[in-house]
Structure formats: structure tokens, C-alpha cells
Amino acid sequence: MTEPMLPVGYRVIDRTVETHDSATIQLEPIDRSLDRFRPGQFAMMYAYGVGEVPISISGIGDDGTLTHTIRSVGAVSRALHDARPGTVIGVRGPFGTTWAPEGAAGNDLVVVAGGVGLAPLRPVVLSALAARSAYSRVVVIAGARTPDEFLFRAELDAWTARDDLDVELTVDQPAAGWDGTVGFVTEPLARLRLDPERTVAFLCGPEPMMRFSARVLLRAQMPSDRIHVSLERSMKCGIALCGHCQLGPLLVCRDGPVVTYTVAEPLLTVPEL
């Protein structure tokens, strides 16, 4: 067995600027590759001398490469965000639970993303598109603060153009040059005609956004175990050894990040848990 605390060297081979503070990097293994990641799982990514943080996969990686989309918010994420082709990054993983979109086959799929929350959900949409006939309706609702802050903008436009995908983009406030929806993701979500017992929803974004979105779905009679959310907590090990990621009974790195809203609801409604 390999040592799970020991990073494996990967090299950045491609970098795409997404927004003013976010970029997608693609990495290939230097010697050894990690096991295949599943949608929703995360890697612990180490930037030399700076530190290590959890980052979800944002691509499928059939070819053994890893794709991650990183928003620069602090020292480590900035170093990863800034990494140019050639940069060596230490990677551990795959860790955590998966969205398991294949488990939703036969259902309508509703994907709701806020901001950088679209990154962990992109593999769900890609795998649904790769097996499109397995699902009924596929809906993607993505919100951003401003029109310039959508990740994967070109891809979102291509998805919007497809007739087998319902895409709704919304920005928080009116902006010059934006003639799309204005408002929070909850608004287009509330307008959806749902078949509550035949829908599976995947939510990722800031906690208030997930709570409000889940509330809309619950009000539409969706059972809470058909709603999946991805949780974020401080993580130092990723493998249930350091204790940092606790959220009540959960070790988010092991029992999450993806959990059902049945599990998350009583925990997300207690301040400072």
C-alpha cells in the first residue's frame, strides 16, 4: 500500500484562466498516478513550500490527467491558481464521497451551483452528457455575482445551445451587457416544475446558497435524501486522522464532502457547529 500522507508528484501541463480570480489547471503524473477520482471527490494539493489544501476535481480525467479549478483566496490557493505549465504539484487522493450521478439514472437531474461551486459539479454534468439517455431531464442552474465570474463560460454557452440540457444562468445584480436572469439561483429553481419523487438534486456553493436552495426543493416536496450537497470544512489530512474537518458527527473528509440533505440539514442550521 502507498503511504496516504505522502504526496505524488504531478506536473501542470495546461492552464486556463476562468475569471479574474479563478483558473483551471490540468496535471499529469510525473512517475506514478493516483487512482481514478470520481465526481465529487477531492485531492489534497500541495504547493511547494506554501501548503496543502483540499481541491475537488473539476474534470473527468479518462486519460490519467487531473483537472482542478481553483479560486485564489489565500496563500495556498493563490499558489495553485498561479501555477504555470511545468510547475510541480504534490497531490494526494482520491478522497471523500462522490456525487455518484450514475445512481440517479432514470431520474431528472437538477444541478445547482453558486460561484466556484460549479467546479465540483462539472464532472456530474459531463458524465450525465456522456450517458445522456440514462437520465430524463437534465437541468443546470448556475449563479455568479457578475457575468464575468462564471467558470467554464464557453462550455456553459455550448451547454445552453444544446436542446437536451436546460441551462439557466443568473447573476446577483443587473450588469451592463447581461440580458439574462438576475437574482439568486433560488429563483429559477423555484420556477422549475419538479417531479419530486423522480428528481435527484446536486447543490454546491456557499452554505447559505445550499440551505436556501434545499429549502426551495423541500417546499416542492422533494425528499431530503434526494438532495445532495458538498460541504466545506478545514482539512489538514483528508483521511480522518487530523480532526479538523469535524461537523458534528461527521468527519467531512471521510463521511463527505458529498452528503444528503437529510444528514446536512440539522448540522447546517446550528451556528458555529
Binding site: 511547494y48 513550500g49 478545514s234 487530523c242 458534528g248 457547529l273
Partner: protein
């Protein structure tokens, strides 16, 4: 096999045999103001004749009237110092994408004088650090190499409550040898083949029924002489239902969030990491060290700490010890050793806080 009896002096032979077998023997020794766990080269280093007086926020050594060596309930350290060291290198790298594990040589420890509470605590650490999908390999290696000499505790302290947690005063299973200290001899019981082999190499005889009877009644008396008890409530449910109790504010007014309780607790396992590079930037290392849920940084995510108030941090600590540990690892995270009570600078007593929470849950 039944109990054996060894003379008090024969403990010296036990230590020498363990050393000859390549073990580093760790046991209680005297420092100026406390009983400290340290390497023993001679049984003479054991704190014969020293006892301790404990209470909330209180720990003091005193001379005993006898020469008992293990009559000093839990001290400020626990065996986790040796199994899960305070600071440890995880890896180093020359920035070329290859990472070298710390490659430490596994120390072979013989732990001498492990009480029931602490034996249970070693089991808790094994479940957390060695029982999951990704075990901590350094802990596992140290744990597998252990030789454990437990002691049945006949001198519980004022802050002890192991009887109510089901971990003592008799040491549970898992030890190679278990001693009961009597006035002029030790009763010995071997729990493993390694223990039996070792016992065969020291001078012993079969224990008489009087001797085993005396040891048994000493233990029974100890269970009744314990200073404290955890209230008999469903701790797991009480704490799961007390997330929004106003009692946390009350504790927060007293708690200094110093984290002493987590440092002295024999089961608190939390760690954080530290990245270092040399001046050239060509060599990087990652170190792991103990951390505590009382640190403000502990729950830091982008944008701030999840648990910034003192009350949320005390709630995390107590709830983890007594409730969510069951969810995460299948048992209690507290063994009733009382260390957190004795070493709390303001004398917060978890058994007392549980009584108060239970009362307010009834209101």
C-alpha cells in the same frame, strides 16, 4: 493460567529483562513537581513512596506512608506522547516531485504502569489512528511493537471517574502483563503469550488464594473510593440534543480556551501540519504536530473560523469526547482519567458540566 506473585524487588528484574530484549522501558518517574513518564533504566527510578493529591485545577505530590510505586493517579502526560508524538516529520522533498517519507525507525516501547483508564485510551487511539481506511502507519508500527505492563489501580484520585466510564480501576484486556501492587509483593497476571514468556524469566510463584482475594478486595474498595462519577445519563443523546443549550455560554464565561484539557487528554488525537523550506527553496519538509479544537485557527476556512466563540469550542470539545466520537469511531472518546479536570487552570469539571446540561435538558 492463574495469578503469580513476585516480590517487590523483582520488578527490577522485569525492567532489566525488558531492556535486554531491546525495549525502551517507559514508566513513571519523579520530577520536581509532578510524576512524569520517562525512560527507565532501573526500577529505582519509579516514584516509590510518592502519592498525589488532585482536585479541579489542582495536582500536588505528597509523601506516602508506604513505598508504593504506582499509587499516584494520572499525571499531566499520557502514553499518547510516545505513541502519537507531539511533533513528527511526515516527509521531505527536493522540489522535483519526489517525496520521501520520514523513514523513522520504529521505537520499541515497553510501557510500565499503564492504568485501566490509560489502557482503554490506547485502545481509543488505535481505533482512531489505526482502525480506519487510511491508518497512520507511524502510530500503527509503534502500537504493534508495544509491550504493555498494566497496573490495576488501587489508589484512585479525587478527579478520577473511570469506574463510571467502564475502563477501571481494574485494567481491561490488552496488556501483556497486569500487576496489582500489594504492600510487599505484586500480583501478576499474563494476558498474552509474550507476557507469559516474560513472566517465566523472572522469579515468581503461584499466588495464594489469600493473595488474590486481597487484591480483588483492594480493587473493589478502589472503585468505591473514586472521587467522581459521570452522571448516569445517555451522554450521546444528551449532547446531540444540547447543541443549542444556553449552558454553553455559562461554561464559556469560565473557560479560557487554553486547550490544556486537549493536551493532557490521553485520547485527543488532533494534529495540524507545518510546511517548511530551506533558504534556497530547493528542499521542503512537512511536519505534523498536536493541535486542539480550542485553537481559533483549528476550524479556519477561507473567510474566517467556523468556531470563533469560546462557547462553540467548548461545545465541540465536550460533544466530541462524549457523543460524536460514537458516530465517528464507535465508542466514547473519554475514559474517565480526570486529567482535564486537574489540569484546567480554572477547574472546569466535565462531570459537573454534564450534570448541569442534564438538568437544563429536563427543564
Amino acid at each position: 493460567m492463574g495469578h503469580a506473585t513476585i516480590d517487590t524487588d523483582e520488578l527490577g528484574t522485569l525492567v532489566q529483562v525488558l531492556i535486554a530484549d531491546g525495549y525502551q522501558v517507559i514508566g513513571p518517574t519523579m520530577t520536581g513537581s509532578a510524576i512524569e513518564l520517562a525512560e527507565l533504566t532501573d526500577a529505582g527510578q519509579l516514584p516509590a513512596g510518592w502519592g498525589v493529591e488532585t482536585g479541579p485545577g489542582h495536582y500536588r505530590l505528597h509523601r506516602r506512608e508506604d513505598d508504593a510505586m504506582f499509587a499516584h493517579s494520572a499525571g499531566p502526560q499520557s502514553w499518547k506522547t510516545f505513541l502519537h508524538p507531539p511533533r513528527r516529520k511526515l516527509w521531505s522533498s527536493d522540489t522535483d516531485g519526489s517525496f520521501q517519507g520520514a523513514d523513522e525507525e520504529t521505537p520499541r516501547y515497553a510501557l510500565l504502569g499503564v492504568r485501566g483508564c490509560d489502557l482503554a485510551a490506547i485502545g481509543k487511539l488505535r481505533d482512531v489512528l489505526g482502525g480506519g481506511t487510511y491508518p497512520d502507519s507511524s502510530f500503527q508500527a509503534r502500537h504493534q511493537a508495544l509491550f504493555i505492563v498494566a497496573v490495576n489501580c488501587t489508589e484512585p484520585g479525587e478527579v478520577c471517574f473511570c469506574a463510571s466510564m467502564g475502563t477501571g480501576p481494574a485494567a481491561g484486556p490488552g496488556a501483556d502483563l497486569t500487576l496489582t501492587e500489594m504492600s510487599d509483593h505484586f500480583l501478576v497476571e499474563a494476558g498474552t503469550d509474550a507476557g507469559r514468556e516474560l513472566l517465566a524469566r523472572i522469579d515468581h510463584r503461584d499466588a495464594t488464594t489469600d493473595e488474590t482475594g486481597a487484591a480483588r478486595s483492594a480493587l473493589e474498595m478502589a472503585a468505591h473510593r473514586m472521587g467522581r462519577a459521570m452522571p448516569e445519563v445517555d451522554l450521546r443523546a444528551l449532547l446531540a440534543g444540547s447543541r443549542e443549550s444556553s449552558h454553553w455560554e455559562d461554561v464559556a464565561e469560565r473557560c479560557l480556551t487554553c486547550g490544556n484539557c486537549t493536551m493532557v487528554c490521553p485520547t485527543c488525537f488532533c494534529t495540524t501540519t507545518e510546511d517548511v523550506t530551506d533558504l534556497t527553496g530547493d528542499h521542503a519538509e512537512r511536519w505534523q504536530h498536536w493541535s486542539s479544537c480550542f485553537e481559533l485557527d483549528f476550524s479556519h476556512v477561507h473567510g474566517g473560523s467556523v468556531r470563533s466563540s469560546g462557547e462553540s469550542r467548548y461545545r465541540q470539545w465536550l460533544t466530541h469526547k462524549l457523543s460524536t466520537w460514537y458516530d465517528q469511531f464507535g465508542g466514547s472518546g473519554c475514559v474517565g482519567c480526570g486529567r482535564c479536570i486537574a489540569w484546567c487552570p480554572v477547574g472546569i469539571d466535565l462531570t459537573e458540566e454534564i450534570s448541569r446540561l442534564a438538568e437544563s435538558a429536563h427543564d
